[in-house]
Amino acid sequence: MARTGANNSAILSQQLLLSVTEQLKVPLLQIAREAEHGQLSGTTDPVKIQLTAESALQLIDNYALGVRLNLEQSQLEIEPVSVASVLYDTGQQLDSVAKSYGVDLELNIAGRFGPVMAHREGLQAALVSLGTSLIEALPALQTKQLTLQLATHRCRYGIVAGVYADIEKLSSETLRQGRRLQGKARQPLATLTHNSGAGVFVADAILQAMDLELKVSRHHRLYGLGTVLQPSQQLQLV
């Protein structure tokens, strides 16, 4: 996929900024009401407030990373990276938001894959962003199990890394339509989330900056979002 010029890229668009702004209202609202409840009842849950604040910080951080990556495109450090280890670290980062939404995290790294070529920080940020979006939406998606699976598998084009759940309606068309509606509709991914879906679009933009593509993906009978990575050829030269 051709890299668009920094000035045209999605991450720097006003639509994405609007989407992120709308999304940030969520944790701030949660904190405001949680804090008010604490005052009314006399029993505060500071851990809840802390986790919510950290979740908001993460969104801001990922968005900022996306902007930076796009501005520094020519200086992107691609290196051989272990997908398993990225997924593991992603799981660590998602742990608290998963707990606060009652979602179980599972790591599924079947098979042994060699390293892939990627910008590690960007890849992890994208996966965390995707994972957070799905976790927040899962309780309302009426899935049989509240589980998010972080998984990797080989496909025809390379190695897929993604986040998956037992959701029904996720098609490539949903993602395509979402990209078109982003910034124009309140809920561009209405079948996936009740929010602006900023997490998905931030991940989309981060991946774009790394010349990767966000795709709807299937892992066994689960549906989700991920990206295809290329195996590192470096070891073959040694």
């Binding site: 509709a185 309140r186 809920q187």
Partner: protein, 229 residues
């Protein structure tokens, strides 16, 4: 008993007895059809069942002796799901359904069915403005009822000319020359499109149309008031 298959758009629903509902649908071949849906009130799972707001479904039913048939099954074909995200679009969608419900009877009404479906399609598309869909819908309704205004010649029979300004004469349902008139070539061209286009999306793409819609609204409203009240 023969089962009939058709496509339908729900116009209204009422309850009947303890467990049943009467659903009124607009179909292309049979016009307005009233069907009894038995036992559905107990389940209350309508949203999964295919009878949804702003949607088109495949319906299987059995014709009754009198007015009421029996719904056998329904399957959602198309749900215009983006309409409900914007309350202005919902409002217009609701009004379209209400109006169509009023003007249709049980004769074949494929034109009205197509009109309603096209209205949903346009409302579902955020690039088409609600004002434009409203004007187009009003124009198409007038046309179907036989009330297309004269958009070719003026009140005395002369061809409408580009450089001239006009006012609209509601009694004659035609334009008359007026130097201080509100309507010019662009308005008339747009009106012609509103009455001829079978969907508003194409009109929306014409440059400059947006700015004309406000002025055209009053003309269209007066036409609708005159003819439909």
């Amino acid at each position: 008993m023969k089962q009939l298959l058709t496509t339908g758009i729900v116009l209204s629903r009422t309850d009947f007895g303890e467990a049943d509902r009467i659903v009124t649908l607009l179909t292309p071949e049979d016009g307005k059809v009233r069907l009894m849906a038995r036992g559905v009130r107990r389940i209350k799972s309508r949203m999964a069942g295919g009878i949804e707001l702003f949607s088109v479904s495949d319906i299987t039913y059995i014709k009754g002796r009198g007015e009421l048939g029996t719904l056998v099954s329904s399957r959602l074909i198309k749900h215009y799901s983006k309409i409900v995200q914007n309350i202005d679009r919902v409002q217009l969608g609701y009004e379209c359904i209400k109006v169509i419900n009023k003007v249709t009877e049980d004769q074949p009404e494929s034109d009205y069915f197509d009109l309603l479906e096209a209205a949903f399609e346009a409302l579902d598309d955020s690039s088409v403005s609600v004002e434009l869909v409203n004007l187009w819908f009003q124009a198409q309704l007038l046309k179907l009822a036989g009330y297309t205004p004269n958009l070719l010649t003026d009140i005395v029979g002369n061809e409408l000319v580009a450089e001239q300004k006009y006012e609209f004469d509601s009694d004659a349902v035609a334009f008359k020359i007026s130097d201080s008139g509100r309507y010019g070539a662009d308005h008339i061209k747009t009106l012609r499109l509103l009455f001829s286009a079978n969907k508003p999306e194409t009109i929306g793409k014409v440059e400059g149309v947006k700015s004309l819609l406000g002025t055209l609204k009053s003309l269209m409203d007066s036409l609708s008031d005159t003819n439909f009240n």
